[in-house]
C-alpha cells in the first residue's frame, strides 16, 4: 500500500480519541476523506457506518426503469425485483436476452441474438456470457414482452411461494392485531422487538440449537417475555404445507437421499452440479442439478439519502431521476476539512532515478523504509474553505488507556518510531474558485517542477532548516495548498506498518452572517477573539508504509 491518510469518525468509540493505528480494529474507524460526510448542525464528521440511510427511489439496474416506491411497497411478495423483462442468468448472473427460437439464419451462434419483435413465436432467454438458455430448463414464452408476467405463473405455483403465502396468511391476523397491543411508540422505537420477529427468532432458536446464543433479542425476549405475554395472545403453531422432513426422506432431489446419490453416481462433468453460489439465494431444499436452475429476477437497486444520526438533518439527498449523479443536498467532508496527502521524498527520488534509467513502470512500490534510519516525509494540506485557515498538528503519542491492559501488551503497542512534526500553527490560504476555471495550468506550473525542488526549499522556505536534511517545517505554500515537512525516526528493532494517529486542528474565521453554526458549544470551542475564530479538530491516521528489515532490502534508497 502506498502512503496515505485516512480520517477518523468517532462513531464507533465512546471516547473522542481514536484507537491505536496498529490495531486491526482501527481500520474500521478510519475512512478515506471522500467517503465521509459533515454535519453542519452538529459540527461533526459522519461516516457510512453511522449515517441513517433512507431509500429515496428504486430502479432496475438493467432496464433503468424507475419503480415507484409505492408499488415496491405494495408488491412485497415479488421480493422487489424488476417486474418487466429483466432476468439474470442463474449460472453466471449476467443479464439474459430474449431471443426468438429459430432465427432464419442459425448458422453462427456467436452472433448475439437480438430482441426482434418479428421473431418466431417460442421465445426464450439467452445468456450472452455463458450461453445458458431457458429452453434447456423448459421455459419458453409465446410473446417477447411481459416475460415477468408470463413467468409469474411458474413462480406462483412453486412450493416455496405457496408456502410463503400461507405463512403470511397465518401471521396476518396477528400482525394486524399487534400494533394495538404493543402501542405505536414501542413499535417505532425498537423494530427488532416486534412480535413477529420475536416469534420467528424464538422458533429459530428452538429448532436450530446454538442459534439462540447469537440472537441478543431472543434472549432478552425470554427475559422480558413473560410480562409481555400477559397482554398478548400467543401465536398459534404453524404447520408447514410441505414438511422438510418429507422432502429429505422422500424422492425429491436435493434432500440428500437416494435420488441425490443416484444423480451423483451418473455425473459426467462437474458442471452438472449447481454450485452453492448458484443455489444460495433459493429458499427450501433445491435440486443440486444445474439443469434445474431457473432464470432469476433482477433485484432492484435504490438511491439513498443519508441523515445525520444525531440531529437527523439530511446530509445526502440525491436528485429524483435514477441515473442522475447530482444531489440536491450533499454535505461531504471534503468541502469542510483540509485534504491531506502524504508523500515520501526519498521514494520519489528513487522513482525518478528508476525512470531515468530505463522507463521502468512508474508504479510506486511499497513504502520501503529501513529500520534504524530517519526519513523525511511531506504532508500537503489543501484548504477547501473560502477563508484562510491556521492548522496545528499533534501526533497522538500517549494513548489514553481505553482499558487497562497487561503491561506487556502495553509495551508492544508503543510505536517503535518517533515522529517529528512542526509544532507551530501554519497558515493555508483560502480556496479561490477562479482557479478551477483556469484549468489548472498555472497551478500546475509550480507543481511541474516539483520533483527536484526538495533541496531548493531548504534554501528559501522553512525557518527551522538546521541542516541539509532537516526538513521539518513549512516547505511550500502555493494557492490553497501548504506543504509541510515531517520526519520519522525508526528504531532499530522496528517492524511492521508505520502508521501514526495525528490530531489536526484548524482555526477558521466564521463570518458574521453565520448560517452554518449558531455557535454550538459542542465540539467547536468558539474563541471569542476578533471576528470570531473557531477551531475544529479531527483525527487522522497517517500511513507511511512498511518498515523493512535492513538485510532483506537490496536497493539503497537513501542516496
Amino acid at each position: 500500500m502506498s502512503p496515505g491518510v485516512e480520517y477518523y469518525c468517532p462513531c464507533q468509540a465512546s471516547t473522542p480519541h481514536p484507537p491505536q493505528p496498529n490495531l486491526a480494529s482501527s481500520s474500521y474507524s478510519f475512512h478515506a476523506l471522500h467517503n465521509l460526510y459533515f454535519c453542519e448542525e452538529c459540527d461533526a464528521i459522519r461516516c457510512n457506518h453511522c449515517v441513517m440511510v433512507e431509500v429515496s427511489g428504486y430502479y432496475c439496474p438493467n432496464c433503468l426503469f424507475e419503480v415507484p416506491s409505492a408499488s415496491v411497497r405494495a408488491e412485497k411478495t415479488r421480493y422487489q425485483s424488476c417486474a418487466r423483462n429483466c432476468f439474470m442468468c442463474p449460472s453466471c448472473s449476467n443479464t439474459l436476452t430474449v431471443v426468438p427460437s429459430d432465427p432464419p439464419d442459425n448458422g453462427d451462434e456467436r452472433i448475439p441474438p437480438t430482441i426482434n419483435a418479428a421473431g418466431e413465436p417460442p421465445f426464450f432467454l439467452y445468456c450472452n456470457h455463458c450461453r445458458w438458455d431457458s429452453a434447456e430448463v423448459g421455459i419458453t414464452f409465446e410473446k417477447p414482452t411481459g416475460l415477468a408476467a408470463q413467468l409469474q405463473k411458474f413462480e406462483d405455483s412453486a412450493p416455496e411461494s405457496l408456502e410463503f403465502e400461507r405463512l403470511k396468511e397465518h401471521f396476518e391476523p396477528y400482525l394486524r392485531a399487534s400494533p394495538s397491543t404493543s402501542g405505536n411508540g414501542l413499535h417505532t422505537h425498537s423494530p427488532h422487538m416486534n412480535p413477529i420477529t420475536a416469534a420467528a427468532s424464538s422458533a429459530l432458536a428452538r429448532d436450530i440449537p446454538g442459534v439462540a446464543r447469537y440472537m441478543p433479542h431472543a434472549l432478552s425476549r425470554s427475559r422480558s417475555g413473560r410480562d409481555k405475554n400477559a397482554n398478548r395472545q400467543e401465536v398459534p403453531d404453524y404447520r408447514a404445507r410441505v414438511e422438510i422432513g418429507a422432502i429429505t426422506t422422500g424422492y425429491a432431489l436435493g434432500g440428500g437421499a437416494e435420488p441425490d446419490v443416484e444423480f451423483m453416481r451418473h455425473l459426467e462433468t462437474v458442471e452438472e452440479v449447481a454450485t452453492l453460489d448458484q443455489r444460495w439465494g433459493n429458499s427450501w431444499v433445491t435440486s443440486p442439478r444445474s439443469i434445474d436452475l431457473k432464470p432469476l429476477r433482477i433485484p432492484l437497486h435504490s438511491k439513498k439519502s443519508k441523515r445525520c444520526p444525531t440531529c437527523r438533518h439530511i446530509l445526502i439527498k440525491p436528485e429524483q431521476k435514477a441515473q442522475s449523479v447530482r444531489y440536491k443536498i450533499k454535505l461531504v467532508a471534503a468541502n469542510y476539512l483540509p485534504a491531506i496527502t502524504v508523500s515520501l521524498p526519498h521514494m520519489q527520488a528513487a522513482l525518478a532515478m528508476l525512470r531515468r534509467s530505463g522507463r521502468a513502470n512508474a508504479e510506486p512500490q511499497d513504502g520501503t523504509m529501513l529500520a534504524g534510519k530517519t526519513y523525511p516525509f511531506h504532508l500537503s494540506f489543501q484548504n477547501p474553505l473560502y477563508d484562510p485557515i491556521q492548522v496545528r498538528l499533534h501526533v497522538q503519542r500517549a494513548i489514553p488507556p481505553t482499558q487497562p491492559n497487561a503491561p506487556e501488551t502495553e509495551k508492544a503497542r508503543r510505536p517503535p518510531f518517533a515522529i517529528t512534526l512542526p509544532t507551530q500553527a501554519f497558515p493555508i490560504a483560502a480556496f479561490a474558485e477562479a482557479w478551477e476555471y483556469d484549468d489548472d495550468e498555472d497551478m500546475f506550473g509550480l507543481e511541474g517542477e516539483g520533483e527536484g525542488e526538495d533541496e531548493d526549499f531548504d534554501a528559501h522556505g522553512p525557518k527551522d532548516s538546521r541542516g541539509k536534511s532537516r526538513t521539518v517545517g513549512v516547505l511550500e505554500r502555493r494557492a490553497n495548498v501548504t506543504m509541510i515537512g515531517g520526519e520519522v525516526m525508526i528504531s532499530k528493532e522496528a517492524r511492521g506498518d508505520m502508521k501514526f494517529n495525528m490530531l489536526v486542528s484548524y482555526t477558521y474565521r466564521s463570518d458574521d452572517p453565520e448560517p452554518e453554526e449558531p455557535s454550538t458549544p459542542s465540539r467547536s470551542q468558539a474563541q471569542h477573539k476578533q471576528p470570531e475564530m473557531k477551531t475544529f479538530s479531527f483525527y487522522t491516521v497517517v500511513d507511511l508504509g512498511t518498515i523493512i528489515v535492513r538485510d532483506t532490502s537490496s536497493v539503497d534508497l537513501d542516496s
Binding site: P61, P112, T114, A322, S343, A362
Partner: protein
C-alpha cells in the same frame, strides 16, 4: 501524487484543443473520430474510426469528450450487429473525464462522464455505461450489459459490487484533470542537469 508523467516530446502530437495523440497509436478513419479536447491517446492504442455505418454522407463513429484517456494498447471499436439481415456498425459515444486503462477492449455503445475503466477489461458490444461508474481491472462486461450510474462492477462476467461514493464526480474530475496536467513532454536532459 502530483508528479509529472513525462513522455518524449516527439512521441505525441498535440492539437490546438490540447489533445495529445501518440504517434504510435493507430487511428483509423480519423475523419470519423471526434476528440473533445485535452484527451490523451496513449501509445499502441487502436481507434477504429473506419468502421462506419454503411450509407452515404459523413458519419461520426467514435466521439470522446474532454479529459479522456485511452490507455496504452487499448482498442476502441464501434459495436456492430446484424439487424433485419443488414450488418452494420453503430456509433460509440464517450463522455468527459473518462479514463480507460491499458490493454482494454471497448465496444460499448455509450459511456457516460466520469467513468473509470480499469486495465485489461473487455467491454462487450452495445454496453451502456452510465455516469460515474467504475469498472475494476480485468473485468469482462458481456455484450448488451447496462451499468447504472454510480456503481462499481468487477469480475467475469462483470457484476455489481458496490455503490460509488457521492463525491465520485469531483474525485474523478480532479483525477483526470491532474492526470492531463501531469502528462508533459520530457523537459530533456539539459533541463534536468541545470537544476
Amino acid at each position: 501524487m502530483d508528479h509529472p508523467i513525462y513522455y518524449p516530446k516527439s512521441e505525441y502530437i498535440e492539437t490546438d484543443t490540447g489533445n495529445k495523440v501518440s504517434r504510435r497509436a493507430t487511428i483509423a478513419g480519423p475523419q470519423n473520430i471526434i476528440l473533445g479536447g485535452k484527451t490523451i491517446i496513449a501509445n499502441g492504442a487502436i481507434i477504429r474510426g473506419d468502421l462506419r455505418r454503411t450509407g452515404p454522407g459523413h458519419a461520426v463513429v467514435i466521439s470522446l469528450g474532454r479529459y479522456c484517456l485511452v490507455g496504452e494498447g487499448c482498442i476502441m471499436r464501434p459495436p456492430y450487429k446484424t439487424y433485419r439481415g443488414n450488418f452494420n456498425y453503430y456509433p460509440m459515444k464517450v463522455g468527459d473525464h473518462v479514463h480507460i486503462g491499458a490493454n482494454t477492449v471497448v465496444e460499448a455503445a455509450q459511456i457516460g462522464s466520469h467513468v473509470e475503466i480499469g486495465k485489461n477489461c473487455v467491454i462487450g458490444k452495445f454496453t451502456i455505461i452510465k455516469d460515474c461508474a467504475k469498472i475494476a481491472d480485468n473485468t469482462v462486461i458481456p455484450p448488451n450489459t447496462v451499468i447504472p450510474a454510480l456503481s462499481s462492477f468487477a469480475g467475469s462476467p462483470g457484476r455489481f459490487v458496490e455503490d460509488m461514493p457521492e463525491s465520485t464526480q469531483e474525485m474523478v474530475e480532479a483525477m483526470t484533470k491532474s492526470y492531463y496536467s501531469r502528462f508533459q513532454p520530457d523537459p530533456g536532459s539539459a533541463a534536468t542537469q541545470q537544476r
